[in-house]
Amino acid sequence: MIILRKIENFLRRQGKPLVNFIFKVGELFIFISQTVYNCFTPPFYWRNFTRQVIDMGFYSLPVVGLTTIFAGMVIALQSYSGFASVGAESMVASVVLISVTRELAPVLSALMVAGRIGAAMAAEIGTMRVTEQIDALTTLSTNPFKYLVSPRVWAGLVVMPILVLIGDVIGIFGGYVVGVYKLGFNPANYINATLDELQALDITTGVVKAAVFGFIISLMGCYNGYKSKGGAQGVGEATTNAVVSSSILILIFNYIVTELFFSR
């Protein structure tokens, strides 16, 4: 009885935020199921998809390149200082390879793209919401999920893996640059060590992570934009929420996907 009373009191005090939270979670799940359904049913707006691919992919190349090259460089430097100089060459090469492909390229690229694109999606769709452009789409017999959300989600799924593959190459190159020009490794040996260590699983993990992160970025960008209300301030909040929530989810799902791949 006392326990029941305690629960009741807890609900009394915490009831409203709790109900709000459950409502939000429900709203998000409805949004996700609508998104998935509309991603697989025609019509598909190729033009919108192409625009997103260019925005999200092509224009993200500089930031992805910058973050991954420095990540590869710093890993080479750090791991060298940690190892005895005997056999350092192959150790550094393999540490760079594994950490870049499995973790650094996918996670850092995704966080950068979340900041760039997740925010832009939330701002654009949020503005369309508060200026009634989404209602206008509906009255023009166009489903906003198919016109706005589905092309962005597909773009996220397709573009992030490609970005990460490019990031892999650049990150490994960063490690090579530090290894050869700063630590004085033999270029041919370093490359051979890298190629010896190269395993399909490392690349696959990174690519699967990238696809998951791409989905998260687009989904949170669209969701927060779609539900924004209350003028410019609401759009600002949506933008912040999109970046924060997708960044957190990226880190959580990074763990979950790693667990799925490597815990057996």
């Binding site: 200026t131 009634e132 452009q133 206008a136 017999s141 166009t142």
Partner: protein, 254 residues
Amino acid sequence: MSEVKIKLRNVNKSFGKKVVLRNLNLDVYKGESLVVIGGSGTGKSVLIKCIQGLLTPEDGSILVDDQEVVGIEEKDKEALHSKMGMLFQGGALFDSLSVWENVAFDLIENKGYNKKDARNEAIRVLRSVGLDPDVADLSPAELSGGMQKRVGLARAIISRPEIIFFDEPTTGLDPIMADVINDLIVESVKGLGATALTITHDMASARKIADRVAMLYKGEIIWQGTVKDLDKTDNPYVVQFINGRSQGPIKTGV
């Protein structure tokens, strides 16, 4: 004039605790131009969004051509919207598209027009609302408020809808531009033989556009009649509203 095009019965809509429409009843007859007047925040926009299925009332029935809109399925929405056009309060033009692509949106996305025909048709309709073909390739952000309204009007009428909604078509325009828009609305509605539902708090506009006027107050239609009736009525709410007096039964503020 006797056939009912839109029929609302006991429509209730609230947001949380705030009741916006309560047991609202209204008929819009085929081919007429009905103007709903009412103060800011009385739920005029909510009313037309309910009719278009953009918002769902908790209770009541809305029939458009005898088809129920409340609880309409996603797949039936397209057919419903294909006979409706809407001019939004802020224009609601798509920022990512050029002016002509906005106007021709329905033709390209739903009617299978090719680019060239769609563009020609858009330019023709832009002309009919008094816009130069030069604006066709501009982006909506480059236009003045009045021009945006015209583009919004062109987009609303290009598919020759049976029903057109106008959400405060003159708000934010200078009196002369407002009058131009009023003329264009009258012209295009009569030209299409469409049924028009306009919501506004601009009485000059209401008088010009309306066959019939209805007044929305506290979620209900408290008065309706012709424009002539408007000046003869002794309904204190209507009298206060059309004369714009601060003293009277209508209390402003929350």
